[in-house]
């Protein structure tokens, strides 16, 4: 489904990604963990072409992904993205946010798009908030609208870029529960996260990224409880037992 082969990227002197490879199968949930600045978000953003890369290859469903290629818009419409800061359109209601992609990108008739958008908002637990503007929603509610907005495009996969990092602690759970439901339904997901419990419970695979390299790649139990590398151990110690 998603194939990343040996990609490298530098911002000036700084090498953000160093020959990173990653294969994600259909229906697989992959969590990417690692210290900040390790290249997690950049890797994710290369997968839907929000970021360019210097070397290597990225493809989704067999189609090559390049930020500046003509086909990039079509590819992006098939790969959902959920951002750390939600990025809902502030001038549109929850319902309109979810309808935006289907109506204007896919050309879905309005009535049909509205019905599907409403159903998706019900699914993420926001049946009461269809006509609310983002400013009137809590962070957790906004992020659930953002997930519904991504789902409305019927994507082949969804990329999550630290979806709970900007949330107050008590709102994290409601977003993770929606993501858990999606994972159980077989959605292909790549999740950059610091939520180790979520990774342990939901992920099929966990990747540990450090200084632009994949240091470990394995099942959650192994990575999270018996990491092979010292760097992974250090990182987990810091994340799980903050001083």
């Amino acid at each position: 489904m998603i194939s990343v082969r040996n990609i490298s990227k530098s911002f000036g002197e700084h090498r953000v990604l160093d020959r990173v490879s990653l294969e994600v199968a259909k229906g697989e949930v992959v969590c990417i963990i690692g210290p900040s600045g390790s290249g997690k978000s950049t890797l994710l953003r290369c997968i839907n072409g929000l970021e360019s890369y210097d070397a290597g290859e990225v493809s989704v469903g067999g189609n090559p992904v390049h930020r500046d290629s003509k086909s990039i818009h079509a590819i992006r419409s098939e790969v959902g993205m959920v951002f750390q800061r939600f990025n809902l359109f502030p001038h549109r209601t929850a319902l309109e946010n979810v309808m935006e992609g289907p109506v204007y990108v896919k050309g879905t008739p309005r009535a049909e798009a509205r019905e599907r958008a409403a159903a998706l908002l019900v699914k993420v637990g926001l049946a009461q908030k269809l006509d609310a503007y983002p400013a009137k929603l809590s962070g957790g509610q906004q992020q659930r609208v953002a997930i519904a907005r991504a789902l409305a495009m019927q994507p082949k996969a969804i990329l999550f870029d630290e979806p709970t990092s900007a949330l107050d602690p008590e709102l994290v759970g409601e977003v993770l529960r929606v993501m858990l439901t999606l994972a159980r339904e077989g959605m292909t997901m790549v999740v950059v996260t610091h939520e180790m419990d979520f990774a342990a419970e939901v992920a099929h695979r966990v990747l540990f990224l450090d200084e632009g390299r994949i240091v470990e790649d394995g099942v959650p139990q192994q990575i999270l409880t018996a990491p092979k590398h010292e760097r992974t151990r250090d990182f987990l110690q810091r994340v799980l037992k903050p001083v």
Binding site: A74, E78, N87
Partner: protein
């Protein structure tokens, strides 16, 4: 006072004709400056230097030359280059171009104020650049650029008087002609001033409304 009213009765028909030209000139120049300003702003924001460099140059040149000199150029110099414009045409094109530089900076500020995350969210839905602009950037940028746009309209109305210098028969020019032949400067220019004020009041009200409706809280 009675003399003033009697003179006013004589002068007003001529001055009102000038008002019509002033309004036409203002609206024409406003439309042209809006279109050109938007074009410069888009060019200036383009990642292609082939577009952004000319836009920066155009804006800098236009802003650095007095409007009066730009109008003289339109009306007196272009004919030497084989381009004949009527006084009105030279006036509205000249004012439109002169103001396009300010409009461009205004539009650019509005567009740049939109959170880059908004653009990424739109792109990640598969939107192409034109759609991102229409559906996501402009509706948000308008909140930033509409309040100053209201002020631009008022300034445009007043600066249209500069066109009197190239013989456009607008309000100020009408006043000058009457004053020169009657020497009733006080009456004529008081009327001219009142007429400008009367025309700008609705615009002031509109600008105020725009600011209230769209201004940042």
């Amino acid at each position: 006072m009675q003399a003033f009213l009697r003179d006013a009765q004589d002068f007003l028909p001529i001055l009102l004709k000038g008002c019509v030209v002033t309004v036409e000139l203002t609206l024409g120049a406003l439309l042209l400056s809006t279109l050109l300003g938007f074009l410069w702003a888009l060019m200036r924001l383009s990642p292609t230097r082939l577009l952004s460099t000319p836009a920066v140059t155009i804006i800098t040149v236009i802003r650095g030359i007095p409007i009066l000199v730009q109008l003289f150029y339109m009306y007196f110099v272009l004919p030497d280059l084989g381009i004949q414009l009527s006084a009105f045409q030279a006036g509205f094109i000249g004012l439109g171009i002169a103001y396009s530089a300010y409009q461009a900076e205004n539009f650019r500020a509005g567009i740049e104020a939109v959170d880059p995350g908004q653009i990424e969210a739109a792109q990640s839905l598969g939107m192409r650049p034109a759609l991102v602009m229409r559906r996501v950037i402009l509706p948000q940028a308008i909140r930033v650029f509409l309040p100053p746009y209201g002020n631009t309209m008022i300034m445009m109305l007043k600066d249209s008087s500069i066109a009197s210098a190239i013989t456009v028969a607008e309000l100020t020019r009408g006043g000058q002609l009457i004053a020169a032949s009657t020497f009733k400067n006080m009456t004529v220019f008081t009327l001219v001033a009142l007429l400008y004020l009367a025309m700008s009041l609705p615009l002031t009200y509109l600008a105020h409304r725009l600011e209230r409706a769209f201004g940042r809280k």
